[in-house]
Symmetry: C2
Subunit: 233 residues, 2 copies
């Protein structure tokens, strides 16, 4: 049982880039915490944690996310592993980053407060520890790629949303203006949304119809060779 004993062992951590969307402010936000231990205690950091003996990387990332937000089974993908020798000044730690999309209103406020977690606007991020800023940058690039080709935007919106809200979300992620009519045309043509009878009447007198993303419809059209694509001008 010591076939590998001549090799070195390492601390392995996971870090989570947790994206949320603020509908009112039309902004992507990141869930950051004040680091609770040394080194760099008290500094802004991604949610992270060390991997345990009996859990996979994916499980560790889920645990970290869940311990901060109370959420399980949310959208989470592995991003990249960061393995520079000196990335953590304290010791050699290899970190696998995961990015995740959640609905801000779904988090357990008590839990996140206890862990000193705060939603920070992507546009004015504080300084982050270690290489966490480049993790965020890479995750944002990945989000910008995925939002065009997979229906991941709905992970950031409530069950019911208006086309204007969806449109604003896309503008926030693309970080540019897009054509409203072409956007609506394209998403409607995809036939993966259901229009509800209900209207959102807070932001306008006329009100905007709510829509719902129908995962089953999406799966069905994908089987028929459909490729999601919202790379609109």
């Amino acid at each position: 049982m010591k076939l590998y004993s001549m090799h070195s062992k390492f601390y392995v951590a996971v870090d989570c880039i947790i994206f949320g969307y603020d509908i009112a402010e039309k902004e992507i936000k990141l869930l950051l915490i004040k680091r609770s231990f040394e080194p760099a205690k008290g500094n802004w950091s991604l949610a992270g944690g060390f991997v345990n003996e009996d859990e996979s990387l994916d499980a560790a990332a889920s645990r970290v996310l869940s311990s901060l937000t109370g959420l399980k089974n949310v959208y989470m993908k592995q991003l990249h592993s960061y393995g520079e020798v000196k990335r953590d000044p304290e010791a050699r730690v290899i970190s696998t980053a995961y990015w995740s999309l959640i609905k801000i209103k779904d988090i357990d406020k008590e839990l996140s407060d206890k862990n000193e977690a705060h939603w920070q606007s992507l546009k004015k991020l504080p300084k982050l520890i270690f290489d966490h800023k480049s993790m965020v940058d890479n995750a944002m690039s990945e989000l910008q790629v995925q939002i065009k080709i997979k229906p991941v935007g709905f992970e950031l919106l409530p069950e019911k949303f208006t086309l204007v809200q969806l449109f604003d979300l896309y503008e926030a992620i693309y970080q540019r203006t897009i054509d409203k009519r072409n956007f609506r045309k394209k998403i409607i043509t995809m036939n993966i949304l259901e229009k509800l009878d209900e209207k959102e009447k807070v932001t306008s007198k006329r009100g905007a119809y709510y829509f719902r993303f129908i995962k089953e419809r999406y799966k069905k059209v994908v089987l028929g060779g459909f490729y999601f694509n919202l790379d609109v001008n």
Copy 2:
């Protein structure tokens, strides 16, 4: 210096999915080795190795690739980290996979022979150890994505190549037939190739003109907002 000492440490390895292209057989090949140590000694495996204390993940992957092929500074990207608890039956090992594109003729034959490395056709892969098969599948998917949107195909071809060779490479990676005229039209229009005066005259009497990929031209058009796209019918 023991801030993290309550946490577990792990063996960390890298595995390399090394792709090559066989022009004559029009096939993508994988560089596999006969594993030289237990467990699973003698079985087919990806090129891999344990990470050392003083090297980054990227450096470890480069070392593994180089020790098997003699090659440095080739196309290599991190793919994914595999962290299932029981993925290696001997001990907990977390492995970060890298995929790489090389020119088969460039490898140091003596080195690769010594390591019992063999090029295997992707179409009839032998059984691989642990989770290496899923690493290969994931890498192949990634290659199929990247070949469409980045000029990575040229990494698999010699400096000089004919349009027929490039076309065959794309068919091999897409795993479907594509339209010859539309393909030629599209790649020529991109203006990133230089036509040479020389002809390849082995495979036909008439001969086919050699072309060369001009990286500088590619970089220039990218700055002008050009997006490489060879997703042709």
